[in-house]
Each structure stands twice: as structure tokens, then as C-alpha cells.
């Protein structure tokens, strides 16, 4: 149990306390909230506000074993339906409920970062992959027999399908622990910043902001303490590259963080690990401990300018928006994960109002490799604007699902060939908030100059229904909007209804025009990236797959298709029929 010292209430402990209670009691009760509020000197409702923001905190019992099924479209396409049915049968209650014996709670959740091994689920945050109805049956009976999920869960596969030739690979090759840290001894922080600027490394979290520049800004801002945060929230549906990096090479992340901390002068490091990856927490903490043992973490770390730096892991609790860096900072501060306005940036005033650098896992992992291979070698890889390699998480309708480390500049068609996409119709590029690509894009190149990608690649073939896919994406944004600004909160909800109309076949030209106009309003007035990007794929798809939507476009009739005269008179016909036949 986390100890709270009476005189020093640090709100950044709040989420950890909530997790602890959730774990032990399987829900957070009224009285718990009252106690927490007292400890943290907050109003009860403020605590309630924080905990109801996060999907994994429950106000009522969620079972001794809490099962989260991934409801992403990839999971649905891979047979989530039958898995759900199997679970429902075994535990005797429908999805979203607690079994009568209070043993099992069955819930759905957004993408859990296992898209290449779906259907998958988390049971007490332990992963179970490639599920079949039989496997579900075994799992439940094992749990009933008292076996612990952690004892028999699956270890998610890394499925690294492709890397460039060994001398051109960056991430997935043998790495000798501590090797990049020798750099510290002979270089000043400024040297490292210069080097990273020279490398043109840009943020792999999706925004591609130049990393060196970010570090420089943070370095320039004077403060008594600075923070470095690793963004391991990986929430974009379809991406799982950060998970694989954390599984395969946590040491490069820690070294990347030590180097980044040296560069910016940060003395506290935090890994914001998404709740869905809780099973990776212990391993990361083990690596941290070993670096501490060798004095690469802690006080007085050996370097040209010796420094203090330590890292701990903060666990998220199920909110996609917490991947947005300012929301993430609020989340660590024990607040609701609402993004800030962009008046000041985190490098100026971030975590606890101090200069803060937030970097993605992949960005940080690249740093030691750049030092190891030398910046010139790195610059010789990839393209002019985007040197180096990129990790892509591939899922959906293709033969070789998994992780691809590709050199920037790869031809898209070639990429489709390697992943074994046989009949690709729509490629969802960079996740639901990215872009929908069609045949027309297949001759482009994957690079900063042309098709840039944060990491998620979902392939949909000819057999898939595009409006259904779009509906899933829209559902995701409706669920995950933080709710603070109306264009995103209600705008996405209204777009979702339009998609419903398409799916039930009653949309018309006016609806299609509305979608376009409303999307523009949502895009230009939303407060953060979620709202600004949420309607991208919908509009892309409408533009790129005119055949799918032409029947709606063509319908200019002022009569409502949702009204069917046949259906409305069916009752009458039946009644009259029955009565007249009675009297014949």
C-alpha cells in the first residue's frame, strides 16, 4: 500500500492510490472516496471527477477477475463476436456486467495494443492472445479452479516481421547495455542537443516535432527542477510498436531517458505507461533498478557535467486522450486528463508548472542507437527530411501481421507486398486519427516528404464494409473525447449519428454535405488534436471511395428514407387480414 505522509500530500500519488484500491477491492466505494479526499485535502467531488474520467476505475464491483475485451474493428474482424459469446456463456452474464457470483466482470475496452494477435483480452491486466472459444472455456475453468491469471497468461509475441539489412537496422538488433552512456563522460549536454538536432530526429508520437529543438527549449528555460516524461500511452488503435520496444529493448528506453535528461537538465523522469500495459511494469522497473545499481540513475551520475536523475513508472488508467502530452501531464498530476490550451508549452511550464519534456518511447529509444552508430551513419539511412528508420505496427487483412522496421523512403506498394496484403482496399494510415488511403495512394513513398506515419497501419480488404469501419472509429472518438470542448464532445456524437444513417441505408445527399461541413467546424474549432483529427478518416474515405457512398450522394429526394409506408401499414394489413379471415 502506498503510504501517505500526513504533512506532505502530493497529488501525483492520487492515481496510484486509486489503482491500489481498485486492485484490492475491485471497485472504489463512496467511503473510499471520502477517505481519499480527506488524505489529499480535496473535495469529495473532485476525487470523483478524477476517477470517473478513467475507464479502468470502477465505482461498483467489477469482479474478482475483470475481463476487458478489445472492441477495436481489427478485433471484431478477427472474431471478437464469438469470443464475447464464449465469455458470456461461461460466466453467464452479457458483456458489461458482473457475474452473479461476483467472480467475473466482463467489459469492453478500446484497442489494447495487441492488434497482431487478436482476438485478445486482458484479465486482471494480464494478456491473453489469439483467443478461441475453446481457449476461453479453459481460461474460465482455470480461474474457477483458483489459478492466477499471471501464472498462465500469454506472453504477447513481438512478431518482428521485417528489419532492414543488419547494417541499416536501428532498433531491432543486439544492443550492449550501457554502451551509449559512455557519451556522457566526454560530452556536454549542449553537445548532445546539437547532435540530436543534426540527426533531424523528430517525435515518433505522431506530431514529428524536432526532438533536438524541444530539448533545447527545455534546456534554455531556467528552473530549480525539470522533468522528462516518456509517453508510453500508445493509445492510437492499431499501434503496438511501443509495446514491442518495451518488451524487447527496455534498456534502450532507459538509456535514451538518461541521455535526454542530461541534455535538458531534468532530474526526475517518469514513464507514463498505459494501464493496458500494466503487465510490462515490473520488467521496466527491474531495468530501472539495474541502471540504478550501476549508478547510471540516482545521484551524481558520472558525466562531463555530473547530474542527478531518477525514473519511476506512472500507470495510466484507460483514457486515450492522456496520450496528448498536456493531458498526460495533468493525469500524472492526479487530475482529469484534459488537455491544456496552447498558451504555454510544457517545455516552459509543464508537470508541476516546471519545464517538462515529453517524448515518445520510440523517439527516446532512437537516441542511444544514433549515438552508437554515429550521426553520419544515421543520416545515411532514410530520406532527406526523415533520416533513419520507422517502426510500423501492421494489423488487419494481411498475411504477416506484426512489427516492421522500415527505412523511410520505402515505396508503399513494396511495403504492401512485404506485409502480404493481397486485396487491400482501404489502408488506415496512422490510426483512426490519421488518414484513409486507397489504391490511388499506393504509388507513394513512406517518408516525411510524402506519407508520414505515426505507427499504426490497419489493412482492410475487399470484403470489409467501409461505413462499419468508420462507425468503429467514430465510436472510439465519442468514447474518448475528454468532453471539455463542444465541437469534439458533441460534434463527434452528431457525426456518429450520420454514420448510423449510412449504415441503416437512409443517408442522403444532405447528410453527406452535412458531414463535410460539420467536420470542418469540428476540425477548425476543437481544442486539441483529438477533435482536430477525429473526422479525417471519415472525410478521406468519402472522398477516396466514391463508389461506396454514391448511393447516398445521389439521393436528393426530399422524402425521408427512414419512413417506409409498407412497414407503417403492415400492422393494419395484418389486423384486417386476421379479422376478415375469422369471419369468412
Amino acid at each position: 500500500m502506498i503510504m501517505l505522509t500526513k504533512n506532505k500530500v502530493d497529488r501525483s500519488q492520487l492515481m496510484a492510490v486509486l489503482w491500489e484500491i481498485q486492485r484490492k477491492k475491485r471497485h472504489i466505494a463512496h467511503d473510499d472516496i471520502t477517505k481519499i479526499a480527506k488524505e489529499f485535502d480535496l473535495s469529495r467531488m473532485e476525487v470523483e471527477g478524477v476517477l470517473t474520467f478513467y475507464h479502468f476505475f470502477h465505482r461498483s464491483d467489477c469482479g474478482k477477475y475483470t475481463i476487458y475485451l478489445n472492441n477495436s474493428i481489427i478485433s471484431k474482424h478477427n472474431g471478437m463476436g464469438s469470443i464475447q459469446a464464449a465469455f458470456e456463456k461461461e460466466i453467464g452474464v452479457p458483456l458489461g456486467n458482473l457475474s452473479f457470483d461476483k467472480m467475473f466482470g466482463l467489459y469492453e475496452t478500446a484497442c489494447i495494443g495487441l492488434s497482431d494477435q487478436e482476438p485478445a483480452c486482458l484479465i486482471n491486466f494480464q494478456p491473453f492472445t489469439n483467443l478461441t472459444p475453446e481457449k476461453v472455456k479453459t481460461i474460465i475453468s482455470k480461474l474457477r479452479n483458483g489459478e492466477k491469471p499471471s501464472d498462465f497468461c500469454d506472453k504477447p509475441k513481438s512478431n518482428i516481421q521485417y528489419t532492414p539489412a543488419i547494417d541499416r537496422t536501428v532498433f531491432f538488433k543486439p544492443y550492449k547495455d550501457f554502451s551509449s552512456l559512455a557519451f556522457l563522460k566526454s560530452n556536454k549536454p549542449e553537445d548532445l542537443i546539437e547532435l540530436i538536432k543534426k540527426s533531424k530526429l523528430a517525435g515518433r508520437g505522431g506530431a514529428f516535432f524536432p526532438t533536438g529543438l524541444k530539448w533545447q527549449f527545455a534546456r534554455q528555460n531556467k528552473a530549480d527542477i525539470k522533468y522528462l516524461i516518456c509517453n508510453a500511452d500508445e493509445g492510437e488503435p492499431g499501434t503496438f510498436k511501443d509495446r514491442v520496444l518495451l518488451q524487447e529493448h527496455p534498456e534502450t528506453l532507459i538509456e535514451g531517458m538518461i541521455l535526454a535528461a542530461y541534455a535538458v537538465g531534468a532530474s526526475e523522469g517518469i514513464v507514463y505507461l498505459r494501464g493496458e500495459y500494466r503487465y510490462l511494469k515490473a520488467a521496466i522497473e527491474k531495468v530501472i533498478a539495474s541502471y540504478k545499481k550501476y549508478n547510471f540513475l540516482g545521484n551524481n551520475i558520472a558525466a562531463k557535467e555530473p547530474f542527478n536523475f531518477d525514473i519511476h513508472v506512472h500507470l495510466g488508467a484507460g483514457a486515450y486522450i492522456c496520450g496528448e502530452e498536456t493531458a498526460l501531464i495533468h493525469s500524472i498530476e492526479g487530475k482529469r486528463g484534459e488537455p491544456s490550451t496552447k498558451v504555454v508549452f510544457p517545455v516552459e511550464r509543464g508537470y508541476k508548472d516546471k519545464p517538462t519534456v515529453v517524448n515518445n518511447v520510440e523517439t527516446l529509444c532512437a537516441v542511444p542507437h544514433i549515438l552508437e552508430m554515429g550521426v553520419d551513419k544515421w543520416l545515411s539511412l532514410g530520406t532527406e527530411k526523415t533520416p533513419g528508420t520507422k517502426l510500423l505496427s501492421v494489423s488487419g487483412d494481411c498475411k504477416n501481421k506484426g512489427i516492421y522496421e522500415i527505412e523511410w523512403g520505402m515505396n508503399f506498394r513494396e511495403f504492401l507486398k512485404i506485409i502480404g496484403a493481397e486485396n487491400p482496399k482501404m489502408i488506415q494510415w496512422s490510426g483512426p486519427s490519421g488518414n484513409a488511403l486507397s489504391e490511388a495512394d499506393f504509388d507513394r513513398t513512406i517518408s516525411g516528404e510524402d506519407l508520414i506515419c505515426g505507427g499504426s497501419v490497419m489493412v482492410f480488404d475487399e470484403t470489409r464494409d467501409i461505413p462499419t469501419i468508420l462507425k468503429h472509429f467514430s465510436d472510439f472518438f465519442v468514447d474518448e473525447s475528454c468532453g471539455i470542448c463542444v465541437p469534439c464532445r458533441t460534434g463527434n456524437f452528431l457525426l456518429n449519428r450520420k454514420i448510423n444513417k449510412m449504415i441503416s441505408g437512409v443517408a442522403n445527399r444532405k447528410d453527406m454535405i452535412d458531414i463535410k461541413e460539420w467536420s470542418h467546424i469540428i476540425k477548425t474549432t476543437s481544442r486539441c488534436g483529438l477533435g482536430q483529427m477525429s473526422s479525417n478518416s471519415l472525410n478521406d474515405a468519402i472522398e477516396k471511395f466514391p463508389k461506396v457512398f454514391e448511393k447516398f450522394m445521389a439521393d436528393e429526394s426530399a422524402c425521408k428514407k427512414s419512413f417506409s409506408l409498407e412497414k407503417a401499414t403492415a400492422d393494419y394489413d395484418r389486423i384486417i387480414n386476421e379479422i376478415t379471415s375469422d369471419y369468412e
Binding site: D41, L42, S43, R44, M45, E46, E48, G49, T52, F53, A319, R336, E338, S340, T341, K342, V343, V344, V478, D479, E480, S481, C482, G483, I484, C485, V486, P487, R489, T490, G491, F493, L494, R497, K510, D514, W518, I521, T524, T525, S526, R527, A558, C559, K560, S562, F563, L565, K567, A568, T569, A570, D571, Y572, D573, I575, I576, I579, T580, Y583
Partner: protein, 422 residues
């Protein structure tokens, strides 16, 4: 003063104090950027409502979060940005449940005032019917979530003396709402509680026992921008020399009350006939359309298949279709049968009712008798309706005024006593 900087707002060169908030700079220079969440004492600014969205050097951003610096090029009142602003207000109306005439804050409500200024008569969005609650439990306050626009003013501004929040956001996404902490609320002084009600830009925070203390005319926004002329974007109908406007009317499942009201136009009828000719209508007894009409007026909803055919015919033959009266708009009295299965309705009417003959065993059915629909449908569920004139029945002068305004492409001036029935 050497900290003056130069910037342009809508092409106009302006000097302002460096770092000053753009909303204030614009205001000082006669450009009014509407805001809802912006509140002087809250820093950093909230930036939640988004209606002050402008373009800064070509990029969209909110004015309230912008501090002016040298060389800024700001667009405020482009058609696109004006429409964005209106759209957001419309979205707020569609998302909540706002009934201004019964709201304690009416006339003192910032959102209502913006809506009037923007000429908002109806929202482009369908109503969201989101689940909202009214919380009467706090000692002194009422939290009316139906009206809350989640601007966050109360959350940031109202704290107890020991620094605790009284109002908090709970849940997220479309379910986000403001919840009052009962215990903390009790700690507020009378003055602080009133302050909370006062800073809420809408009527979401109410103090029990305090309502409408000021009569119409003395409220904050009653006469604000009284002379501002807002365009309603009506498209004018072009007539050829010597032509009159062609109007058709019909009564579907209604009581003919709306038509009776129509006749109450009295002597104005003579004026009307100067510019209008009636085509298919019970008034002319013309049974079939003989030409395309400019406007069709529909009374009553659809209760049987004949109503549906007539309505669809009207939709085709009339350029503009207007539902007038409650039955056309929402089904009205006939729609009360929607709560009873059709079979029971028929049996009650023809077999079991008090007025049917003893031993009655026939429900009339013949191909000439229209088939009853399973439910009574409002007209807009069957065809697209362009305008609605509410009322049961709508007032005669009012009907005529609306129709005339639509025909002539003029603005519809609605006097207070025309929509006030108490």
C-alpha cells in the same frame, strides 16, 4: 510607452500593448469577438467554449488564449469564422435542453444574448437528447445540467475559504457534467453562492428562491444590440411580371383548427389575395394541383396512407413546405394513440367502445378506406419540412406574417405577444 506593438485585425492596422489579451485588444478597437467561457479573473484563460476562434497568421486559434505580439495578422469576421461561431452556439443548443422562456436566467444569459445577436432561429443540428440531470440536493443551489455548457468557469472560480472545489467536472465525453460537492457548497457564504450563479454564463447554477428578480426590460441583455440587423439568409422568390405567389394548403390528421385560424386573418385576407393565389386547398376546393406552387402549408400529421400520399404530393409540388400547428409538427392530439397498439385502438373504436353497437363485430375495411398507420407520424418524419409555425392553432396574423415573410424573402419580426400565450 515603448511596449506598443503593431498588428492587424481584419486588415485594419492597430497598435496595442504587447501581451494583452486579443479579446480585449479587439474590443478596444471596436471589434467584438463573442466569448462565453472567457472570464476576467480566471488565469490562465479557460479556452473551453471555442466561439472566439479566429485565424492568426492563417491558423485557427482562440482569441482568449492569444496574447498579442508584433506583426500578428488576425482575421475575426470572415464569413467562415462567423459561421463557425454560430455553429458552436447551435451545437450548444442542440446538446443541452434549453427552454429560454422558462429559464430563470433568461435575459441575463450570455449564450441567449449571443444567439439573438447572431440571428439564430433554429439549429442546423438534430437535438442530441443527451441525458441530463437536475440536482436539487445541495442546500442552497440547484444544478441544472440541462443548461450547462461546460465552460468550466464555476470549477475554476468558486472555491471555499480552505481552497476546495465546490464544482467539479465528472465523467467524460458526452457524459461530462458539473457536479456540486454538497459538503463544500454548505461552506459558501450567501454572497459567494450568488457570485456562482452570476458567473455562470447560462442558467445552470441557480440559487433556491431567487428567480427573475428583474422584470423584462431591466435584465442585462434585454436591449443589447437592439438595433443590430441580423440576416436570416432567406432566399427571395422571383416572380414574373403579373404573376402571383402560388400557395397550397391541406389538412392531414388535424382538426381543421389551423385552417380556421388561417381564415381569421379577416380583412388582411384581401391584402393577401393581392399577391397570393391559392391552388390545391380546402379554401378553394381545388382537389388536384394544377401547377407547381411556391409554398405549401400542411396542417396535421400522417395517420393513414392517404395522408402520406398527399404529403408526398405536396412535397413534390411545393418548393417550400411549411408545417403549421402542433399536429403537423409533432403529431399532436392524434398521436396520443401512439401509446396504444393499433389493434386495441381499432377494437375500442369499432367493437368494444361504449358507442359501438351491442355485438358489433366488424372493423370496416375496404380498398377505398385509407389504411391506418401503426403510429401517427409528424410530417418531418415522412418528408423534409422547410419551416415550422408552432401553435395550437397558430395565431392568424402570425401565420400570415410568416408566410408573407417567406414569400417576400423578408425577415420575420416576431413580437413578444405573438409567441407568448400566458
Amino acid at each position: 510607452m515603448n511596449n506598443l506593438i503593431n498588428l492587424t485585425i481584419d486588415g485594419k492596422k492597430i497598435q496595442a500593448e504587447k501581451g494583452k489579451n486579443l479579446v480585449d485588444v479587439a474590443k478596444d478597437n471596436g471589434v467584438d469577438i463573442p466569448t462565453l467561457c472567457y472570464f476576467k479573473s480566471i488565469n490562465p484563460t479557460l479556452g473551453t467554449c471555442r466561439i472566439c476562434t479566429v485565424k492568426l497568421n492563417g491558423r485557427y486559434t482562440t482569441s482568449c488564449t492569444t496574447h498579442v505580439t508584433e506583426g500578428m495578422d488576425i482575421e475575426v469576421n470572415t464569413p467562415e469564422l462567423l459561421d463557425n461561431r454560430k455553429a458552436i452556439i447551435e451545437m450548444l443548443y442542440a446538446e443541452g435542453n434549453h427552454f429560454c422562456p422558462t429559464c430563470e436566467k433568461s435575459g441575463n444569459c450570455e449564450m441567449q444574448s449571443h444567439a439573438y445577436n447572431m440571428g439564430l432561429t433554429v439549429t442546423r443540428y438534430p437535438h442530441a437528447f443527451s441525458e441530463k440531470t437536475i440536482d436539487f440536493a445541495p442546500e442552497r443551489m440547484i444544478m441544472e445540467s440541462n443548461r450547462c455548457i461546460l465552460c468550466k468557469r464555476c470549477v475554476e472560480e468558486i472555491k471555499t475559504k480552505d481552497g476546495k472545489s465546490v464544482f467539479s467536472f465528472i465523467k467524460r465525453g458526452v457524459n461530462t457534467r458539473v457536479q456540486i460537492d454538497y459538503k463544500e457548497e454548505r461552506k459558501l457564504s450567501e454572497e459567494e453562492a450568488l457570485h456562482a450563479m452570476d458567473i455562470c454564463p447560462v442558467g445552470a447554477i441557480l440559487i433556491k428562491g431567487i428567480a427573475n428578480e428583474k422584470p423584462f426590460g431591466e435584465r442585462k441583455y434585454d436591449f443589447l444590440n437592439k438595433n443590430v440587423h441580423t440576416s436570416l439568409n432567406n432566399n427571395k422568390i422571383e416572380l414574373k411580371e403579373g404573376e402571383k405567389f402560388v400557395v397550397a394548403t391541406t389538412s392531414l390528421a388535424g382538426c381543421f383548427g389551423c385552417h380556421m385560424s388561417l381564415l381569421d386573418i379577416d380583412t388582411d385576407l384581401i391584402d393577401m389575395l393581392e399577391i397570393v393565389e391559392f391552388n390545391k386547398s380546402p379554401l378553394t376546393d381545388i382537389k388536384n394541383f394544377s401547377k407547381q406552387c411556391h409554398v405549401g402549408l400542411i396542417e396535421g400529421g400522417c395517420a393513414n396512407d392517404e395522408n402520406v400520399h398527399v404529403l408526398k404530393d405536396f412535397r413534390e409540388k411545393c418548393d417550400i413546405l411549411i408545417s403549421f400547428g402542433e399536429c403537423a409538427i409533432m403529431g399532436g392530439i392524434p398521436a396520443m394513440r401512439n401509446f396504444v397498439p393499433l389493434q386495441e385502438c381499432l377494437e375500442e373504436a369499432y367493437l368494444n367502445g361504449l358507442t359501438s353497437e351491442l355485438g358489433a363485430d366488424i372493423i370496416p375495411a375496404h380498398e377505398d378506406i385509407p389504411k391506418l398507420l401503426d403510429n401517427v407520424y409528424p410530417c418531418n418524419e415522412v418528408v423534409k419540412i422547410d419551416y415550422y409555425i408552432p401553435g395550437c392553432p397558430p395565431n392568424a396574423q402570425h401565420i400570415w406574417k410568416v408566410v408573407k415573410s417567406i414569400l417576400l424573402g423578408e425577415e420575420i419580426p416576431i413580437a413578444h405577444d405573438e409567441f407568448k400565450y400566458d
